[in-house]
Symmetry: C2
Subunit: 130 residues, 2 copies
């Protein structure tokens, strides 16, 4: 494992900690100003707005890294969630039920910041639990 590989993994873990602290002031340390998410030109402001909305929908949201593959400039992570979304989530009437599901997500880093994200959520798992 090269220093670069472990360095990028460490940066990614610090990003996940930033999300779990809802430390939006420091999100710009990890996310590029012109970041793209699932093909959308979100930028840092849109990225932050998406995350803030996620925490409004899911007050007990917590990001847990299940699998992590670091291969600079890419990080791939399988994130595991165990939470109780209020109301509708992914178009499903979850209404405060506990759901466990995963996300398989790729990130491309540029200058040590996330520049592009390709994320897929396991909606089928959520659907099977509501």
């Amino acid at each position: 494992v090269s220093a670069t590989t472990s360095g990028l993994a460490d940066t990614y873990r610090a990003y996940i900690d930033c999300l779990n602290r809802q430390d939006w002031q420091n999100l710009g340390q990890f996310v590029a100003d012109d970041a793209r998410h699932n093909g959308r030109a979100f930028g840092l402001a849109g990225y932050r707005a998406m995350l803030e909305q996620d925490f409004r929908t899911i007050p007990d949201l917590r990001f847990t890294i299940g699998l992590l593959a670091a291969d600079p400039p890419l990080i791939a992570a399988r994130l595991d969630f165990d939470c109780t979304p209020a109301g509708e989530f992914l178009g499903l009437p979850v209404n405060g039920r506990r759901v466990r599901f995963s996300e398989n997500v790729f990130y491309r880093f540029e200058d040590a910041k996330i520049s592009e994200v390709w994320s897929l959520l396991d909606r089928d798992a959520v659907e099977a639990q509501v």
Copy 2:
């Protein structure tokens, strides 16, 4: 990049070539006898049956690596598909329409063979195209 990292990426590319050739005789070079897929104890025979069924449902199925992160013993890939599934696919009435979608998938290797797979397909993308 260590020799091990590039070695695993090469093994993975050879596995994808095996799938695209529908070379089921040699699938056991890449997939362990007791392989698990999305939590199911498929084994090599079940894994092969799943792939054979995929090619029956999608006669022009072709696996294309869009993103690849190799971090032994893990491989993460974003696979891109551009194909025309016959009939129903992912519970959607595709009926021979052309659909483009991706899969975000993790593999854990043991002894140079795939021992476990965690796959998510972009069903939303398919739904938006039918």
